[in-house]
Symmetry: none
Subunit: 334 residues, 2 copies
Amino acid sequence: MKKTLYIFNNGELRRKDNSLYFETDGQRKFIPVEDTNDIFIFGEVDVTKRFLEFASQKEICIHYFNHYGYYVGSFYPREHLNSGHVILKQAEHYLDQQKRLHLARLFVRGSIGQMRRVVKYYASRVKSGQEQLTERIGRLDHHLDILPQQNSVEELMAVEGHAREAYYSTFDYIIGDDDFRFVKRSQRPPLNRLNALISFGNSLCYTIALSEIYKTYLDPRIGYLHATNFRRFSLNLDLAEIFKPIFVDRLIFYLLNKKMLTKDDFDRQTGGILLSDSGKRTFVAEMDKRLKTTVSHRHLGRSVSYRRLMRLELYKIQKHILGEKEYEPYQALW
Amino acid sequence: MKKTLYIFNNGELRRKDNSLYFETDGQRKFIPVEDTNDIFIFGEVDVTKRFLEFASQKEICIHYFNHYGYYVGSFYPREHLNSGHVILKQAEHYLDQQKRLHLARLFVRGSIGQMRRVVKYYASRVKSGQEQLTERIGRLDHHLDILPQQNSVEELMAVEGHAREAYYSTFDYIIGDDDFRFVKRSQRPPLNRLNALISFGNSLCYTIALSEIYKTYLDPRIGYLHATNFRRFSLNLDLAEIFKPIFVDRLIFYLLNKKMLTKDDFDRQTGGILLSDSGKRTFVAEMDKRLKTTVSHRHLGRSVSYRRLMRLELYKIQKHILGEKEYEPYQALW
């Protein structure tokens, strides 16, 4: 398998005869052209046309990300891995009701599985509410059990919704702070501080998922659990379901437990409550740390970052739609 | 209508705050960002990432051509018009054999129809060969007639190929210049001057089609007559079939008839013959004029530019795949 090259330094991509190199601080790093699939540019990098010509011959795509890590655009060689093939397969898995249902069910299973892990982790750690948490685990198990009997995406969505209700009802026990009561899920705008945190964290999670999707051949517009429709990405929403419990919810518990966020970090606005700017900064900085945290990976036999875990999940989904290997959603080990 | 910028000089594309400029020989030429649709690069041009970031925001595509005038690749900004719905429908029309065949047939019909118009236009104007041209019209009519009986994309491709042969065999009569004999179609490299012109014009046409597709909800990766596969844009090839006769071939006749290009505008290179730099400049400038030329539009009841015609064609294809209106390929009026 050809490799992906990531460039974080500033410099220039140049060509000398039939070799390509990256020049940074006067140093030349040669690029193994025959072994390179694509190049991801994060630094401030200039590219010569002669470089692109040779990259094009070697069918190397170049993807640009801006300073904030958002995808900017791509240089596509005349002939390249676009890939029309992957998108057709992705569409086929959406258009075929059974295939779509199968994938949607896997996303819900992954999502509830992760919620269960979070609750199980805290069940032996909470000061009060152990009994309630154990009861919620039972409920989540029940929802997992009935997934195979759901025969439409709407039914799956309903089960996911009920599971999420049970899951959220553990938050007050886990957080144990009267300044951050859950009450009920409220959005646009969130009506209390805890909901403000969940909303903010989820939207970050959706965006990170989108960036990761751009680094694969998958098209973010075609999701399975979340319906594909006009003007919206949906595959990132599917993917985020599996990662919200570890990326967002556990981060919220951590931030509140460490008192890194308190009620002073919130503003009352337009009928709702939102994180203040300084609160957002704290949240984002800790989220970023969290994404870089490495965890040991069962199958790879090595440690990978949380963010990398998301990418690996996408590769698994890609393999699934290409018919290479049945998708199994990620399950945290702890 | 936004403009296309053609760069033949060597230099650098850079950004300063919210403006973009091209620096050549120490001179800065500013690029009107709000008024620029795409940039075609023929010279040796370096591009900074900061330039691409802003170009992406302004939805400007950048297309690269090598020294020989061959298309190398494109910088494609992050998809801005997102419609998962359209792409699903587009995929559905590919995955369903009958739907794909139907669209592929329409593209071939449109393509042969345009060839026929060109031959018919010249049939009453050529100095010699009227009889031959009339005979070719008969052949093209025959190919149009047998389209409904073709039951695979491969068969349609074969009919298109035969029609094109008949069409090209009229060129010597239309051009009537011994310096520009057709002989037979040769590519990569073209083996004579006329073939060099056709190759250069066609690759411009494919690239313009790509830029126009980018302005719609359609995905350039999924074509119908040209198979969607791992490595290539294909919808632009389908679309170009309909426009090559008017955008490219008639332009060639015009340039040669007016002696705007002569045999001195060609270089013998690497076993083939290619347009010289000055020849390319002349061709591109006249192509650009041609794209801006307005023609009266049958249904709109107003004049639209040739380039706009291409966009309108894409809207019609979009309506077709959305099931709103059956696609009817464009037919020139003259």
